[in-house]
Each structure stands twice: as C-alpha cells, then as structure tokens.
C-alpha cells in the first residue's frame, strides 16, 4: 500500500519538473508566437472598424485577454495556495509564487489599455465604478501577495502567510466578473457570456480568441520558466542540479522512475 503510485505527484519532484519545463516551454513559445501573429493579423487587417467606435475598439483584442488572464492567474494562484496549505507540497508554493508577477503584469496592462480605450469612447480615463475598482483591487492583491512573501524572513512562514492572502483575495475574482451585472457600472456588460454567446462579428471574435490564446501561452511559458528558476535558486550545488547543469543533458528516465510522492 505504501508503494502506491500517485502519478500526478511525479512533477512535484524538482528534477522531474525541471525537465518537463525544459521540454514544454519552447513548444509553448512557438504556440504563443503563432497565435500572436495570427491574432494581430486578423485584428488589424481582417476585422473591420466598429460601427460606433471606429478603430479604437481594436484595443479590445489586447485589453480583454489581459483582463481575463489577470483573473484566471489569480484563481490559479489560489488553487495552488490551497494545495500548499492543505498538503504542504512545496512545488505548489513555487507555482503560486511564480504566477504572481505575471498576474500583476496582466492586470496592470488591462487597466492601462482600458484607460486608453476609455478616454476616446467614454470620455474619461478612469472612473470609480465597480468593475474598474475591483480590478484595481486585484492588482493590489497580486502586489500584496508578493510583498508579504518577501517581507517575512522565514520562507516557510512567508509562504504560508502569502498563500492565505491569495486564498482570501480569491473572493474578488467573481466580484470582478459579475460586477457589470450586479451593479450599474460605466463599463459595458459582457460581450461574451457563458449563457448568451458572443455579440460581435465573427472576425472580431476570432481576433479576440487568438489574442487570448497567445496571452495564455505567454503566461504559461513565463510562469513555468519562473518556477523552474525558483527551483534552481532554492537548491545548492550538491543536489539534482548537478545532473542537469547543461541544457542538453539527457532527460530524466520517465518510464522507469516510480513516483514516490515524496514531499521535496
């Protein structure tokens, strides 16, 4: 019984995770590049100007993906925080911590592009309506997570405190998402809703979805690399890093290795 295989714990072993990232990230970068080029092409050369907004609406193709990724990365960070707090799997903490800077960047970009879109269309860069305010709170939650983690000298304690903050703040994600339905906001309602489908022309939707795919792939590549780097930083030269010290070293034998479920 105690030799039970738990395959999904395989990549919580740093060495295995290192090799997974080493193999996956170049592929993810390629996907990101292809989707970004396709999305920009459709967004700027296929999708026609909007009947009301003209060309300023093209900001949507980057604004919406970054806003979605900000919320998604926060939710993902909270999931890893739960795993870390409940099972004390260190890899989950590494993942959560690696998501935070990219999540903060995505949220900041969504606020920035939103302001530049709001200026010509709404007539204002910023208003304190429920959607914009809750998104700003999301940015502060990401920054708070990073600050709290860094502020506590004992890494284990800092990790736990930050994970707790990530968990509490996850309440904000549904608030952002549904804010345009729950309150009167200056921000318009959902163009793409779970119930109602999409209310935009197919070429516009295509550009938006390609942009979202590109953003998702970028975030995946960057956060996996950051987690990998964090693992290197936590190691000393006597451990597994010796065996993978060059990039072209052979990968860990996947078929033979028995996942031990060992907490590393």
């Amino acid at each position: 019984m105690n030799r039970r295989r738990i395959p999904w714990l395989y990549f919580t072993v740093p060495r295995n995770f290192y090799w997974l990232v080493q193999r996956l990230v170049p592929l993810i970068w390629a996907v990101a590049a292809v989707l970004a080029v396709a999305g920009l092409y459709v967004g700027f050369f296929v999708a026609p100007p909007d009947y009301q907004q003209g060309n300023s609406y093209r900001i949507m193709f980057i604004h919406v993906p970054t806003a979605w990724m900000g919320m998604f990365l926060y939710a993902l960070m909270a999931v890893y925080a739960v795993i870390f707090l409940a099972w004390r799997i260190k890899m989950a903490d590494v993942m959560a911590r690696s998501l935070a800077p990219t999540g903060a960047l995505m949220t900041a970009l969504s606020l920035w592009t939103g302001a530049l879109w709001g200026a010509p269309t709404w007539g204002t860069y910023w208003v304190w309506d429920a959607r914009l305010t809750s998104t700003l709170l999301l940015l502060f939650l990401f920054l708070g997570y990073m600050a709290l983690y860094a502020a506590i000298d004992d890494r284990e304690k800092g990790a736990r405190a930050a994970a707790l903050l990530a968990l509490i703040g996850v309440i904000n994600v549904p608030v952002i998402y549904f804010s345009v339905e729950w309150w009167h906001t200056l921000h318009q309602g959902m163009s793409i809703s779970p119930s109602g489908g999409a209310s935009m022309a197919p070429s516009m939707l295509a550009a938006l979805l390609l942009g979202t795919g590109a953003c998702w792939a970028y975030c995946a590549a960057v956060t996996l690399r950051r987690a990998q780097t964090e693992l290197l930083e936590r190691e000393d030269s006597t451990g597994w890093t010796r065996t993978v010290s060059t990039d072209d070293a052979p990968p860990a034998p996947r078929g033979v290795a028995v996942p031990t479920g060992r907490r590393n």
């Binding site: 009301q52 907004q53 709404w122 007539g123 729950w182 906001t185």
Partner: protein, 149 residues
C-alpha cells in the same frame, strides 16, 4: 480523519464562511455602491440631493440641442419611462449619440434640471462592422440601443 484532510476541511470551511460574509456585505452595500441612478430613481426621490451625483440612461432621440455659439448642449436622459433634462458645457465623448447610453455627473437644481460638469458615454457590448449595422437598418430593425443603461 487524516491531518491534511482536516487542514483542507478547515481551509474550505473558512473560505465558504468568508464568501458568505462578503456576499452579505456586498448586498448590504448595494445601495451605496450605485455608480449612477436612473431618471425613474431620481423622480422617486422625496427630496433632491444637494451633493453631486451621477445620472445614467439613454440620450433621448431628438432631444439634443447644441448652442451655435458655444459648447453648451442640452439633452434629455431617459430610461424609456421617465426623463431628466441635462445641461452641459464642454467637449462630449466620441460615443455621445442620441439613443446611446450616457452617464452625467453633476448637481440637480430645484426645477429638476441636471447641471452636468462631466459627461461620459456608455457603450453597449455589441461590436459589429458598419456594413452589418446598415444592413440591419435597411431591413427595418434598428439596432437595440442596448438593454443596459
């Protein structure tokens, strides 16, 4: 119960409690968190507020009057039931149009005229090419100005 299962139960229980607390707080704050009030809500007020607030709705069709010599503009904000006269002096946003959503910030006087010091356009969540919109108009179905205002 294993220790880690107990931990997970505590975490999820605390999270559920927090979610309920947040829902209750947000629900209680609903009235004070309104970004704008509708003309019907303004009419229903027993006394007009002294302080500055925001009013939101649609720019009533055919109500926009621009002064030839200045940037003054007068229009009606409607929620299709009641409407309020709004005066404003300044540059209007791109999307300010008759039949489109608008949010005006300012004070209301004793006659019920709203003096705006800021006008923001509120667009709907529809995006479409100009040709598609023209086709819809030719077919005799003017695009809905958006259910939200």
């Amino acid at each position: 119960m294993k220790k880690r299962h107990k931990r997970l139960t505590i975490i999820l229980g605390a999270l559920a409690g927090l979610a309920i607390a947040t829902a209750l707080v947000l629900n209680a704050m609903r009235d004070s968190m309104v970004f704008f009030v509708t003309p019907s809500e303004v009419m229903a007020m027993s006394e007009m507020p002294e302080r500055s607030f925001r009013i939101g709705g649609l720019v009533e069709q055919g109500s926009v009057e621009r002064d030839q010599n200045s940037a003054d503009v007068v229009f009606h904000v409607t929620d299709t039931d009641k409407s309020v006269v709004v005066t404003y002096s300044g540059i209007l946003p791109d999307l300010f149009r008759e039949g489109q959503g608008v949010v005006a910030e300012g004070r209301i006087d004793s006659n019920g005229t709203f003096h705006a010091n800021k006008v923001m356009a509120r667009h709907d969540e529809e995006y479409m090419p100009a040709e598609a919109q023209e086709a819809i108009e030719r077919a005799g179905h003017p695009p809905d100005a958006g259910e939200g205002y």
